[in-house]
Amino acid sequence: MTRTAKPSFALLAGAAILIAAFLTGIAYLVIESLHTGSGWGLDNFAYFFSRSDYVAVLNRTILVSVLATLFAALIGYPIAYAIADYKGNRNFLMMLVIMPWLVSVVVRTYGWVVILGPRGTLNSMLLSWGVIDTPLRLIFNMTGVVIGLVHVFCPFFIISVLSVLLHQDKSLREASQTLSAGPIRTFFNITLPLSLSGVITGAILVYLLSTGAIVTPLLLGGVRDGMLATQIYQDVLQVFDYPKAASMAIVLLLTAFVLVIPLQWLERRVAARVSGRGE
Protein backbone atom coordinates (compact mmCIF):
# COMPACT_ATOMS: atom_id res chain seq x y z
CA MET A 1 0.00 0.00 0.00
CA THR A 2 2.78 2.34 1.03
CA ARG A 3 4.78 1.44 -2.09
CA THR A 4 2.01 2.58 -4.46
CA ALA A 5 1.09 5.68 -2.43
CA LYS A 6 4.59 7.25 -2.43
CA PRO A 7 5.17 7.53 -6.21
CA SER A 8 1.68 8.92 -6.84
CA PHE A 9 2.22 11.55 -4.13
CA ALA A 10 5.56 12.44 -5.70
CA LEU A 11 3.92 12.77 -9.12
CA LEU A 12 1.17 14.91 -7.62
CA ALA A 13 3.74 17.14 -5.90
CA GLY A 14 5.61 17.66 -9.17
CA ALA A 15 2.42 18.55 -11.01
CA ALA A 16 1.36 20.83 -8.16
CA ILE A 17 4.67 22.73 -8.33
CA LEU A 18 4.30 23.17 -12.09
CA ILE A 19 0.71 24.38 -11.78
CA ALA A 20 1.60 26.70 -8.90
CA ALA A 21 4.50 28.20 -10.89
CA PHE A 22 2.27 28.65 -13.93
CA LEU A 23 -0.55 30.25 -11.93
CA THR A 24 1.87 32.52 -10.05
CA GLY A 25 3.32 33.69 -13.35
CA ILE A 26 -0.13 34.34 -14.79
CA ALA A 27 -1.24 36.16 -11.63
CA TYR A 28 1.86 38.35 -11.79
CA LEU A 29 1.18 39.13 -15.44
CA VAL A 30 -2.45 40.01 -14.72
CA ILE A 31 -1.52 42.28 -11.80
CA GLU A 32 1.24 43.98 -13.81
CA SER A 33 -1.06 44.47 -16.81
CA LEU A 34 -3.59 46.27 -14.62
CA HIS A 35 -1.03 48.83 -13.43
CA THR A 36 -1.69 52.22 -14.93
CA GLY A 37 0.24 55.43 -14.41
CA SER A 38 -2.19 56.54 -11.71
CA GLY A 39 -3.53 53.32 -10.21
CA TRP A 40 -5.34 50.27 -11.52
CA GLY A 41 -7.52 49.64 -14.54
CA LEU A 42 -7.82 48.28 -18.03
CA ASP A 43 -6.03 51.23 -19.64
CA ASN A 44 -3.22 49.09 -21.06
CA PHE A 45 -5.69 46.79 -22.80
CA ALA A 46 -7.72 49.74 -24.09
CA TYR A 47 -4.50 51.29 -25.40
CA PHE A 48 -3.52 48.06 -27.13
CA PHE A 49 -6.82 47.75 -28.97
CA SER A 50 -6.87 51.47 -29.80
CA ARG A 51 -3.64 51.01 -31.78
CA SER A 52 -4.51 49.72 -35.25
CA ASP A 53 -0.85 48.80 -35.82
CA TYR A 54 -0.87 46.59 -32.69
CA VAL A 55 -4.12 44.91 -33.71
CA ALA A 56 -2.50 44.27 -37.11
CA VAL A 57 0.48 42.72 -35.32
CA LEU A 58 -1.89 40.46 -33.34
CA ASN A 59 -3.72 39.38 -36.51
CA ARG A 60 -0.41 38.76 -38.25
CA THR A 61 0.80 36.68 -35.31
CA ILE A 62 -2.27 34.46 -35.54
CA LEU A 63 -2.07 34.17 -39.34
CA VAL A 64 1.66 33.37 -39.39
CA SER A 65 1.27 30.84 -36.57
CA VAL A 66 -1.64 29.10 -38.33
CA LEU A 67 0.33 28.98 -41.60
CA ALA A 68 3.43 27.67 -39.84
CA THR A 69 1.30 24.97 -38.17
CA LEU A 70 -0.33 24.01 -41.46
CA PHE A 71 2.97 23.71 -43.32
CA ALA A 72 4.61 21.90 -40.41
CA ALA A 73 1.75 19.37 -40.61
CA LEU A 74 2.01 19.00 -44.39
CA ILE A 75 5.77 18.48 -44.22
CA GLY A 76 5.99 16.74 -40.86
CA TYR A 77 3.31 14.08 -41.29
CA PRO A 78 4.86 12.35 -44.33
CA ILE A 79 8.24 12.40 -42.60
CA ALA A 80 6.78 10.85 -39.43
CA TYR A 81 4.92 8.27 -41.54
CA ALA A 82 8.07 7.36 -43.47
CA ILE A 83 10.08 6.95 -40.27
CA ALA A 84 7.34 4.85 -38.62
CA ASP A 85 7.18 2.63 -41.70
CA TYR A 86 10.94 2.33 -42.09
CA LYS A 87 12.23 -1.19 -41.55
CA GLY A 88 15.89 -0.27 -40.99
CA ASN A 89 17.58 1.83 -38.33
CA ARG A 90 14.70 4.05 -37.25
CA ASN A 91 16.67 5.63 -34.42
CA PHE A 92 19.10 7.08 -36.92
CA LEU A 93 16.27 8.79 -38.80
CA MET A 94 14.84 10.14 -35.54
CA MET A 95 18.26 11.52 -34.72
CA LEU A 96 18.34 13.30 -38.07
CA VAL A 97 15.00 14.91 -37.17
CA ILE A 98 16.19 16.27 -33.85
CA MET A 99 19.73 17.06 -34.96
CA PRO A 100 18.92 20.70 -35.89
CA TRP A 101 18.15 21.27 -32.20
CA LEU A 102 21.86 20.86 -31.52
CA VAL A 103 22.48 24.12 -33.38
CA SER A 104 21.45 27.50 -32.01
CA VAL A 105 18.21 28.85 -33.41
CA VAL A 106 20.02 32.07 -34.37
CA VAL A 107 22.56 30.17 -36.46
CA ARG A 108 19.85 28.04 -38.08
CA THR A 109 17.84 31.13 -38.92
CA TYR A 110 20.87 32.94 -40.37
CA GLY A 111 21.29 29.92 -42.61
CA TRP A 112 18.08 30.91 -44.38
CA VAL A 113 19.50 34.38 -45.11
CA VAL A 114 22.43 32.72 -46.85
CA ILE A 115 20.15 30.42 -48.84
CA LEU A 116 17.12 32.61 -49.56
CA GLY A 117 18.40 36.19 -49.34
CA PRO A 118 18.38 38.49 -52.38
CA ARG A 119 22.06 37.59 -52.82
CA GLY A 120 21.60 34.08 -51.45
CA THR A 121 22.38 30.73 -53.03
CA LEU A 122 18.94 30.14 -54.55
CA ASN A 123 18.55 33.58 -56.09
CA SER A 124 22.13 33.49 -57.42
CA MET A 125 21.47 30.13 -59.08
CA LEU A 126 18.17 31.20 -60.62
CA LEU A 127 19.72 34.45 -61.86
CA SER A 128 22.71 32.69 -63.38
CA TRP A 129 20.44 30.17 -65.15
CA GLY A 130 18.36 33.04 -66.56
CA VAL A 131 15.20 31.79 -64.83
CA ILE A 132 14.61 35.18 -63.18
CA ASP A 133 15.71 38.74 -63.96
CA THR A 134 15.53 40.16 -60.45
CA PRO A 135 15.99 38.30 -57.16
CA LEU A 136 12.88 36.71 -55.68
CA ARG A 137 11.93 38.14 -52.32
CA LEU A 138 11.81 34.97 -50.25
CA ILE A 139 12.81 36.40 -46.88
CA PHE A 140 12.38 39.71 -45.01
CA ASN A 141 8.65 39.21 -45.40
CA MET A 142 5.91 36.94 -44.06
CA THR A 143 7.00 34.07 -46.33
CA GLY A 144 10.44 34.15 -44.74
CA VAL A 145 8.99 34.10 -41.22
CA VAL A 146 6.76 31.10 -42.05
CA ILE A 147 9.69 29.22 -43.66
CA GLY A 148 11.85 29.89 -40.61
CA LEU A 149 9.17 28.86 -38.13
CA VAL A 150 8.36 25.65 -40.00
CA HIS A 151 12.04 24.76 -40.06
CA VAL A 152 12.50 25.43 -36.36
CA PHE A 153 9.30 23.83 -35.06
CA CYS A 154 8.58 21.01 -37.52
CA PRO A 155 10.52 18.45 -35.42
CA PHE A 156 7.98 18.94 -32.60
CA PHE A 157 5.20 17.96 -34.99
CA ILE A 158 7.12 14.98 -36.36
CA ILE A 159 7.83 13.59 -32.89
CA SER A 160 4.20 14.03 -31.75
CA VAL A 161 2.85 12.13 -34.77
CA LEU A 162 5.62 9.57 -34.76
CA SER A 163 4.93 8.58 -31.16
CA VAL A 164 1.32 7.80 -32.10
CA LEU A 165 2.14 6.05 -35.38
CA LEU A 166 4.68 3.78 -33.67
CA HIS A 167 2.00 2.56 -31.27
CA GLN A 168 -0.57 1.85 -33.97
CA ASP A 169 -1.58 -1.77 -34.31
CA LYS A 170 -0.28 -2.71 -37.76
CA SER A 171 -2.75 -5.58 -38.01
CA LEU A 172 -5.52 -2.99 -38.50
CA ARG A 173 -3.86 -1.79 -41.72
CA GLU A 174 -3.30 -5.40 -42.79
CA ALA A 175 -6.96 -6.20 -42.11
CA SER A 176 -8.03 -3.18 -44.16
CA GLN A 177 -5.93 -4.29 -47.10
CA THR A 178 -7.15 -7.88 -46.72
CA LEU A 179 -10.67 -6.46 -47.09
CA SER A 180 -9.56 -5.09 -50.51
CA ALA A 181 -8.96 -1.45 -49.45
CA GLY A 182 -6.00 0.06 -51.31
CA PRO A 183 -3.13 1.89 -49.55
CA ILE A 184 -4.76 5.33 -50.00
CA ARG A 185 -8.12 4.21 -48.61
CA THR A 186 -6.36 2.42 -45.77
CA PHE A 187 -4.42 5.57 -44.99
CA PHE A 188 -7.49 7.82 -44.91
CA ASN A 189 -9.77 5.32 -43.12
CA ILE A 190 -7.33 3.73 -40.67
CA THR A 191 -3.89 5.36 -40.29
CA LEU A 192 -4.85 9.04 -40.36
CA PRO A 193 -7.88 8.85 -38.01
CA LEU A 194 -5.90 6.75 -35.54
CA SER A 195 -3.03 9.26 -35.57
CA LEU A 196 -5.20 12.35 -35.21
CA SER A 197 -4.43 12.74 -31.51
CA GLY A 198 -0.72 13.07 -32.42
CA VAL A 199 -1.56 15.51 -35.20
CA ILE A 200 -3.58 17.69 -32.83
CA THR A 201 -0.90 17.61 -30.12
CA GLY A 202 1.76 18.49 -32.68
CA ALA A 203 -0.39 21.29 -34.10
CA ILE A 204 -0.95 22.76 -30.63
CA LEU A 205 2.77 22.65 -29.92
CA VAL A 206 3.78 24.27 -33.21
CA TYR A 207 1.04 26.90 -32.96
CA LEU A 208 1.93 27.90 -29.39
CA LEU A 209 5.65 27.97 -30.08
CA SER A 210 5.05 30.07 -33.21
CA THR A 211 2.96 32.66 -31.37
CA GLY A 212 5.83 33.11 -28.90
CA ALA A 213 8.64 33.18 -31.48
CA ILE A 214 11.04 36.12 -31.22
CA VAL A 215 14.28 35.33 -33.04
CA THR A 216 12.84 34.07 -36.33
CA PRO A 217 10.51 37.06 -36.98
CA LEU A 218 13.33 39.41 -35.98
CA LEU A 219 15.83 37.91 -38.42
CA LEU A 220 13.61 36.83 -41.30
CA GLY A 221 10.78 39.36 -41.11
CA GLY A 222 10.65 42.68 -42.89
CA VAL A 223 9.87 46.13 -41.54
CA ARG A 224 6.13 45.39 -41.38
CA ASP A 225 6.28 41.74 -40.34
CA GLY A 226 6.71 42.05 -36.59
CA MET A 227 4.90 39.58 -34.35
CA LEU A 228 3.47 40.12 -30.91
CA ALA A 229 6.27 38.31 -29.06
CA THR A 230 8.87 40.58 -30.67
CA GLN A 231 6.83 43.60 -29.62
CA ILE A 232 6.66 42.26 -26.04
CA TYR A 233 10.41 41.62 -26.11
CA GLN A 234 11.04 45.22 -27.14
CA ASP A 235 8.73 46.62 -24.48
CA VAL A 236 10.32 44.52 -21.73
CA LEU A 237 13.99 44.80 -22.61
CA GLN A 238 14.28 48.10 -24.43
CA VAL A 239 11.39 50.36 -23.52
CA PHE A 240 10.96 48.90 -20.00
CA ASP A 241 7.20 49.38 -20.14
CA TYR A 242 6.32 46.28 -18.12
CA PRO A 243 2.55 46.93 -17.71
CA LYS A 244 2.14 47.37 -21.46
CA ALA A 245 4.20 44.25 -22.16
CA ALA A 246 2.17 42.28 -19.58
CA SER A 247 -1.11 43.35 -21.17
CA MET A 248 0.16 42.20 -24.57
CA ALA A 249 1.26 38.89 -23.06
CA ILE A 250 -2.24 38.41 -21.62
CA VAL A 251 -3.79 39.20 -25.02
CA LEU A 252 -1.44 36.66 -26.63
CA LEU A 253 -2.33 34.06 -24.00
CA LEU A 254 -6.07 34.54 -24.42
CA THR A 255 -5.71 34.36 -28.21
CA ALA A 256 -3.82 31.11 -27.85
CA PHE A 257 -6.55 29.70 -25.61
CA VAL A 258 -9.21 30.54 -28.20
CA LEU A 259 -7.54 28.13 -30.61
CA VAL A 260 -6.03 25.61 -28.23
CA ILE A 261 -9.10 24.87 -26.08
CA PRO A 262 -11.28 23.73 -29.03
CA LEU A 263 -8.33 21.70 -30.33
CA GLN A 264 -7.90 20.00 -26.96
CA TRP A 265 -11.62 19.25 -26.85
CA LEU A 266 -11.30 17.75 -30.34
CA GLU A 267 -8.28 15.74 -29.23
CA ARG A 268 -10.25 14.25 -26.30
CA ARG A 269 -13.16 13.38 -28.63
CA VAL A 270 -10.80 11.72 -31.10
CA ALA A 271 -9.07 9.79 -28.34
CA ALA A 272 -12.41 8.63 -26.92
CA ARG A 273 -13.65 7.62 -30.37
CA VAL A 274 -10.47 5.71 -31.18
CA SER A 275 -10.57 3.86 -27.89
CA GLY A 276 -14.25 3.06 -28.39
CA ARG A 277 -15.42 5.13 -25.39
CA GLY A 278 -17.06 7.72 -27.58
CA GLU A 279 -19.18 5.30 -29.62
Binding site: L219, G222, V223, R224, Q234, V239, F240
Partner: protein, 351 residues
Protein backbone atom coordinates in the same frame (compact mmCIF):
# COMPACT_ATOMS: atom_id res chain seq x y z
CA UNK B 1 45.74 24.33 23.88
CA UNK B 2 42.09 24.55 22.95
CA UNK B 3 42.16 28.27 23.62
CA UNK B 4 45.13 28.73 21.28
CA UNK B 5 43.31 26.81 18.54
CA UNK B 6 40.23 29.01 18.92
CA UNK B 7 42.39 32.13 18.75
CA UNK B 8 44.15 30.78 15.62
CA UNK B 9 40.83 30.11 13.93
CA UNK B 10 39.63 33.55 14.92
CA UNK B 11 42.72 35.18 13.46
CA UNK B 12 42.37 33.14 10.25
CA UNK B 13 38.72 34.08 9.83
CA UNK B 14 39.45 37.73 10.55
CA UNK B 15 42.29 37.70 8.00
CA UNK B 16 40.05 36.08 5.40
CA UNK B 17 37.30 38.59 6.09
CA UNK B 18 39.74 41.45 5.83
CA UNK B 19 41.14 40.05 2.60
CA UNK B 20 37.61 39.71 1.22
CA UNK B 21 36.73 43.22 2.30
CA UNK B 22 39.86 44.62 0.66
CA UNK B 23 39.24 42.67 -2.57
CA UNK B 24 35.61 43.69 -2.56
CA UNK B 25 36.47 47.31 -1.89
CA UNK B 26 38.98 47.43 -4.74
CA UNK B 27 36.83 46.41 -7.62
CA UNK B 28 34.98 48.05 -10.44
CA UNK B 29 32.38 45.93 -12.22
CA UNK B 30 31.28 47.58 -15.40
CA UNK B 31 28.49 46.62 -17.83
CA UNK B 32 29.13 47.16 -21.53
CA UNK B 33 27.44 46.10 -24.73
CA UNK B 34 28.78 43.03 -26.48
CA UNK B 35 29.94 42.85 -30.10
CA UNK B 36 33.53 43.79 -29.33
CA UNK B 37 32.78 46.73 -27.03
CA UNK B 38 33.74 44.79 -23.91
CA UNK B 39 37.01 43.58 -25.42
CA UNK B 40 37.89 47.11 -26.49
CA UNK B 41 37.21 48.41 -22.98
CA UNK B 42 39.39 45.74 -21.41
CA UNK B 43 42.33 46.58 -23.65
CA UNK B 44 41.98 50.35 -23.78
CA UNK B 45 40.95 51.14 -20.22
CA UNK B 46 40.61 48.24 -17.77
CA UNK B 47 44.02 46.58 -18.07
CA UNK B 48 46.11 49.79 -17.97
CA UNK B 49 43.97 51.12 -15.10
CA UNK B 50 44.41 47.93 -13.06
CA UNK B 51 48.18 48.04 -13.60
CA UNK B 52 48.30 51.64 -12.48
CA UNK B 53 46.03 51.42 -9.45
CA UNK B 54 45.84 47.73 -8.46
CA UNK B 55 42.07 48.05 -8.64
CA UNK B 56 40.55 45.13 -10.47
CA UNK B 57 38.13 46.06 -13.25
CA UNK B 58 35.70 43.42 -14.38
CA UNK B 59 34.09 44.22 -17.74
CA UNK B 60 30.83 42.31 -18.20
CA UNK B 61 29.26 42.24 -21.66
CA UNK B 62 25.46 42.36 -21.59
CA UNK B 63 22.86 42.88 -24.33
CA UNK B 64 21.67 46.16 -22.81
CA UNK B 65 23.44 47.83 -19.87
CA UNK B 66 20.33 49.93 -19.22
CA UNK B 67 18.24 46.76 -18.76
CA UNK B 68 20.74 45.51 -16.17
CA UNK B 69 20.63 48.75 -14.22
CA UNK B 70 16.84 48.72 -14.21
CA UNK B 71 16.64 45.04 -13.24
CA UNK B 72 19.08 45.56 -10.36
CA UNK B 73 17.41 48.73 -9.16
CA UNK B 74 17.35 47.78 -5.48
CA UNK B 75 20.65 45.90 -5.33
CA UNK B 76 23.05 47.01 -8.07
CA UNK B 77 25.75 44.48 -8.95
CA UNK B 78 27.54 46.90 -11.27
CA UNK B 79 29.23 50.05 -10.08
CA UNK B 80 29.75 51.40 -13.59
CA UNK B 81 28.06 51.03 -16.97
CA UNK B 82 28.45 52.46 -20.44
CA UNK B 83 25.43 54.34 -21.71
CA UNK B 84 24.26 56.55 -24.53
CA UNK B 85 23.16 60.03 -23.50
CA UNK B 86 19.44 59.53 -24.04
CA UNK B 87 19.43 56.29 -22.07
CA UNK B 88 21.39 57.93 -19.25
CA UNK B 89 19.02 60.90 -19.18
CA UNK B 90 16.03 58.54 -18.98
CA UNK B 91 17.62 56.45 -16.22
CA UNK B 92 18.50 59.55 -14.23
CA UNK B 93 14.92 60.80 -14.53
CA UNK B 94 13.79 57.43 -13.15
CA UNK B 95 16.09 57.80 -10.14
CA UNK B 96 18.46 55.03 -11.18
CA UNK B 97 21.79 56.86 -11.41
CA UNK B 98 24.19 58.70 -9.13
CA UNK B 99 25.08 62.29 -9.95
CA UNK B 100 28.40 64.04 -9.41
CA UNK B 101 30.10 67.36 -8.87
CA UNK B 102 31.94 68.24 -12.08
CA UNK B 103 34.91 69.44 -10.00
CA UNK B 104 35.54 65.82 -9.01
CA UNK B 105 36.75 65.17 -12.56
CA UNK B 106 39.44 67.70 -13.55
CA UNK B 107 39.93 66.08 -17.00
CA UNK B 108 36.41 67.06 -18.00
CA UNK B 109 37.51 70.67 -18.35
CA UNK B 110 38.93 69.50 -21.70
CA UNK B 111 35.57 68.14 -22.87
CA UNK B 112 33.27 70.66 -24.56
CA UNK B 113 30.33 71.54 -22.32
CA UNK B 114 27.71 70.39 -24.84
CA UNK B 115 28.92 66.78 -24.62
CA UNK B 116 28.43 66.60 -20.86
CA UNK B 117 25.11 65.36 -19.58
CA UNK B 118 23.86 67.42 -16.68
CA UNK B 119 20.88 67.02 -14.41
CA UNK B 120 18.44 69.90 -13.86
CA UNK B 121 20.28 70.56 -10.57
CA UNK B 122 23.49 71.19 -12.56
CA UNK B 123 25.22 68.04 -11.36
CA UNK B 124 26.87 65.66 -13.75
CA UNK B 125 25.20 62.39 -14.83
CA UNK B 126 28.23 60.23 -15.56
CA UNK B 127 31.49 60.96 -17.33
CA UNK B 128 31.49 61.56 -21.10
CA UNK B 129 34.27 59.50 -22.61
CA UNK B 130 34.09 59.12 -26.37
CA UNK B 131 31.77 59.47 -29.29
CA UNK B 132 30.63 57.72 -32.42
CA UNK B 133 28.45 59.21 -35.08
CA UNK B 134 25.37 58.09 -36.90
CA UNK B 135 25.67 58.50 -40.64
CA UNK B 136 24.91 56.39 -43.70
CA UNK B 137 26.80 53.14 -44.25
CA UNK B 138 27.05 52.20 -47.91
CA UNK B 139 28.01 49.01 -49.71
CA UNK B 140 29.95 50.54 -52.60
CA UNK B 141 29.52 47.41 -54.76
CA UNK B 142 25.84 48.26 -54.98
CA UNK B 143 25.87 52.05 -54.93
CA UNK B 144 28.51 54.78 -55.05
CA UNK B 145 28.89 56.56 -51.72
CA UNK B 146 28.15 59.84 -53.52
CA UNK B 147 24.53 58.70 -54.04
CA UNK B 148 23.93 59.26 -50.32
CA UNK B 149 25.15 62.81 -49.96
CA UNK B 150 21.89 63.76 -48.27
CA UNK B 151 19.65 62.02 -45.75
CA UNK B 152 16.80 62.78 -48.16
CA UNK B 153 18.31 60.46 -50.77
CA UNK B 154 17.34 57.49 -48.57
CA UNK B 155 13.70 58.32 -49.30
CA UNK B 156 14.19 58.09 -53.06
CA UNK B 157 11.96 55.28 -54.48
CA UNK B 158 14.93 53.95 -56.47
CA UNK B 159 16.24 52.46 -53.23
CA UNK B 160 13.08 50.38 -52.71
CA UNK B 161 14.03 47.12 -50.93
CA UNK B 162 17.70 48.12 -50.94
CA UNK B 163 17.96 49.71 -47.49
CA UNK B 164 17.81 48.62 -43.89
CA UNK B 165 16.66 50.49 -40.83
CA UNK B 166 16.95 50.02 -37.09
CA UNK B 167 14.11 49.27 -34.67
CA UNK B 168 11.74 51.99 -33.39
CA UNK B 169 13.45 52.16 -29.99
CA UNK B 170 16.60 53.53 -31.65
CA UNK B 171 15.17 55.09 -34.81
CA UNK B 172 12.86 57.21 -32.64
CA UNK B 173 15.94 58.69 -30.96
CA UNK B 174 18.48 58.72 -33.80
CA UNK B 175 16.90 58.52 -37.27
CA UNK B 176 13.93 60.71 -36.44
CA UNK B 177 16.20 63.42 -35.02
CA UNK B 178 18.74 63.58 -37.83
CA UNK B 179 16.09 63.27 -40.55
CA UNK B 180 14.23 66.15 -38.94
CA UNK B 181 17.45 68.16 -39.06
CA UNK B 182 17.81 67.24 -42.75
CA UNK B 183 14.30 68.55 -43.34
CA UNK B 184 15.03 71.85 -41.59
CA UNK B 185 13.70 70.84 -38.18
CA UNK B 186 15.33 69.48 -35.04
CA UNK B 187 14.61 67.03 -32.22
CA UNK B 188 11.57 69.12 -31.21
CA UNK B 189 10.26 69.88 -34.69
CA UNK B 190 9.89 66.41 -36.17
CA UNK B 191 6.87 66.46 -38.49
CA UNK B 192 8.81 66.62 -41.76
CA UNK B 193 11.48 64.28 -40.40
CA UNK B 194 8.80 61.73 -39.60
CA UNK B 195 7.56 61.89 -43.21
CA UNK B 196 11.10 61.29 -44.46
CA UNK B 197 11.54 58.42 -42.01
CA UNK B 198 8.31 56.89 -43.28
CA UNK B 199 9.69 57.00 -46.85
CA UNK B 200 12.96 55.43 -45.72
CA UNK B 201 11.09 52.68 -43.87
CA UNK B 202 9.04 52.11 -47.05
CA UNK B 203 12.31 51.52 -48.92
CA UNK B 204 13.72 49.21 -46.26
CA UNK B 205 14.08 45.53 -47.04
CA UNK B 206 14.77 44.59 -43.42
CA UNK B 207 14.74 46.03 -39.94
CA UNK B 208 17.98 45.16 -38.19
CA UNK B 209 17.86 44.18 -34.55
CA UNK B 210 21.55 43.71 -33.84
CA UNK B 211 24.88 44.98 -35.08
CA UNK B 212 25.84 41.47 -36.19
CA UNK B 213 22.71 41.30 -38.35
CA UNK B 214 23.35 44.71 -39.92
CA UNK B 215 27.01 43.90 -40.56
CA UNK B 216 25.89 40.74 -42.36
CA UNK B 217 23.29 42.57 -44.45
CA UNK B 218 25.84 45.16 -45.52
CA UNK B 219 28.78 42.82 -46.08
CA UNK B 220 26.75 40.29 -48.07
CA UNK B 221 25.24 43.06 -50.18
CA UNK B 222 21.67 42.22 -49.18
CA UNK B 223 21.19 45.99 -48.74
CA UNK B 224 22.98 48.92 -50.36
CA UNK B 225 22.82 51.36 -47.46
CA UNK B 226 21.49 52.03 -43.97
CA UNK B 227 21.67 54.68 -41.27
CA UNK B 228 24.36 53.15 -39.08
CA UNK B 229 27.09 53.67 -36.47
CA UNK B 230 30.52 54.94 -37.54
CA UNK B 231 32.29 52.52 -35.21
CA UNK B 232 30.82 49.48 -36.93
CA UNK B 233 31.98 50.64 -40.35
CA UNK B 234 35.37 51.45 -38.82
CA UNK B 235 35.67 47.91 -37.50
CA UNK B 236 34.62 46.38 -40.84
CA UNK B 237 37.25 48.46 -42.65
CA UNK B 238 39.86 47.57 -40.06
CA UNK B 239 39.00 43.91 -40.69
CA UNK B 240 39.88 44.41 -44.34
CA UNK B 241 36.54 45.16 -46.01
CA UNK B 242 37.03 47.57 -48.86
CA UNK B 243 33.46 47.82 -50.16
CA UNK B 244 31.88 49.52 -47.12
CA UNK B 245 32.01 53.28 -46.61
CA UNK B 246 30.64 55.66 -44.01
CA UNK B 247 29.06 58.81 -45.40
CA UNK B 248 28.46 62.03 -43.48
CA UNK B 249 25.58 63.60 -45.45
CA UNK B 250 25.66 67.30 -46.24
CA UNK B 251 23.11 68.01 -43.47
CA UNK B 252 25.53 66.43 -41.00
CA UNK B 253 25.58 63.19 -39.05
CA UNK B 254 24.28 62.66 -35.55
CA UNK B 255 26.72 63.00 -32.68
CA UNK B 256 26.53 60.03 -30.32
CA UNK B 257 28.51 60.73 -27.17
CA UNK B 258 28.80 57.87 -24.67
CA UNK B 259 29.34 58.18 -20.98
CA UNK B 260 30.13 55.99 -18.02
CA UNK B 261 27.35 56.11 -15.44
CA UNK B 262 27.08 54.72 -11.93
CA UNK B 263 23.92 52.98 -10.69
CA UNK B 264 22.30 54.56 -7.65
CA UNK B 265 23.68 53.17 -4.37
CA UNK B 266 26.45 51.27 -6.16
CA UNK B 267 29.19 49.94 -3.91
CA UNK B 268 32.81 51.02 -3.60
CA UNK B 269 32.63 54.74 -4.32
CA UNK B 270 36.38 55.20 -3.93
CA UNK B 271 37.16 52.73 -6.74
CA UNK B 272 34.51 53.90 -9.17
CA UNK B 273 35.50 57.54 -8.68
CA UNK B 274 39.09 56.65 -9.61
CA UNK B 275 37.77 54.72 -12.61
CA UNK B 276 35.59 57.63 -13.76
CA UNK B 277 38.56 59.96 -13.50
CA UNK B 278 40.64 57.52 -15.51
CA UNK B 279 38.17 57.18 -18.40
CA UNK B 280 37.97 60.97 -18.67
CA UNK B 281 41.74 61.14 -19.41
CA UNK B 282 42.96 61.34 -23.03
CA UNK B 283 45.27 58.27 -22.97
CA UNK B 284 42.56 55.60 -22.76
CA UNK B 285 40.43 57.47 -25.25
CA UNK B 286 43.31 57.47 -27.74
CA UNK B 287 43.72 53.72 -27.28
CA UNK B 288 40.03 52.90 -27.84
CA UNK B 289 40.04 55.07 -30.96
CA UNK B 290 42.74 52.82 -32.43
CA UNK B 291 41.07 49.63 -31.26
CA UNK B 292 37.42 50.25 -32.08
CA UNK B 293 36.97 53.65 -33.70
CA UNK B 294 35.30 55.36 -30.74
CA UNK B 295 36.63 58.91 -31.00
CA UNK B 296 37.90 60.95 -28.03
CA UNK B 297 35.83 63.66 -26.42
CA UNK B 298 38.79 64.98 -24.48
CA UNK B 299 40.40 67.80 -26.50
CA UNK B 300 43.85 66.78 -25.27
CA UNK B 301 43.63 63.40 -27.01
CA UNK B 302 45.56 62.96 -30.25
CA UNK B 303 44.56 60.44 -32.87
CA UNK B 304 47.13 58.10 -34.37
CA UNK B 305 47.98 58.55 -38.05
CA UNK B 306 46.05 55.41 -38.95
CA UNK B 307 42.96 56.56 -37.08
CA UNK B 308 43.25 59.99 -38.62
CA UNK B 309 43.42 58.42 -42.07
CA UNK B 310 40.24 56.40 -41.49
CA UNK B 311 38.15 59.40 -40.43
CA UNK B 312 39.58 61.41 -43.33
CA UNK B 313 39.52 64.85 -41.69
CA UNK B 314 40.75 66.53 -38.51
CA UNK B 315 38.96 65.26 -35.43
CA UNK B 316 37.73 68.70 -34.36
CA UNK B 317 36.39 69.38 -37.86
CA UNK B 318 34.52 66.09 -37.83
CA UNK B 319 33.19 66.74 -34.32
CA UNK B 320 31.99 70.21 -35.25
CA UNK B 321 30.12 68.89 -38.29
CA UNK B 322 28.02 66.54 -36.17
CA UNK B 323 24.62 67.46 -34.82
CA UNK B 324 24.30 67.29 -31.04
CA UNK B 325 20.63 67.29 -30.02
CA UNK B 326 19.15 67.91 -26.61
CA UNK B 327 19.25 64.33 -25.34
CA UNK B 328 17.33 65.25 -22.20
CA UNK B 329 14.42 66.34 -24.39
CA UNK B 330 14.59 63.11 -26.42
CA UNK B 331 14.65 61.05 -23.21
CA UNK B 332 11.65 62.90 -21.77
CA UNK B 333 9.61 62.16 -24.91
CA UNK B 334 10.94 58.69 -25.49
CA UNK B 335 7.66 56.75 -25.32
CA UNK B 336 5.72 59.22 -27.44
CA UNK B 337 8.46 59.19 -30.08
CA UNK B 338 8.56 55.39 -30.14
CA UNK B 339 4.79 55.30 -30.65
CA UNK B 340 5.05 57.81 -33.52
CA UNK B 341 7.76 55.76 -35.23
CA UNK B 342 5.96 52.44 -34.67
CA UNK B 343 2.84 53.86 -36.32
CA UNK B 344 4.87 55.41 -39.15
CA UNK B 345 6.65 52.14 -39.86
CA UNK B 346 3.38 50.21 -39.83
CA UNK B 347 2.09 52.61 -42.51
CA UNK B 348 5.35 52.75 -44.45
CA UNK B 349 5.22 51.50 -47.99
CA UNK B 350 1.42 51.60 -48.11
CA UNK B 351 0.02 53.42 -51.11
Amino acid sequence: MRKIRVVRWGVAIAALSAAFTVTHAQEVTMATWGGGVGAAWREAFAEPFSKETNINVKIVEVPTPEAQIRAQKDAPKFNAAISSLFEAAQMYNDGLLEDFDINDFPALKNVPEKYLLKAPNGRLIGVSTYFAYYGIAVNTDLAPAGEFGSWKSLGDPKWKDKLSITRPIYSSAYDLTIMSVAEGGNERDIDKGLELLKKVAGNALAMYSSMAQMNQLLQRGEVAAAPYYSTRVWQMKRDGLTNVEMVVPKEGALMLPYLVVVPKNASDRESYMKWLNYVAQPEGQERIADIAGYLPLNNEAKLSEEAQKIIGKPLTELRDSLYQPDWNYIAEHRKARIELVERAMADAGRK
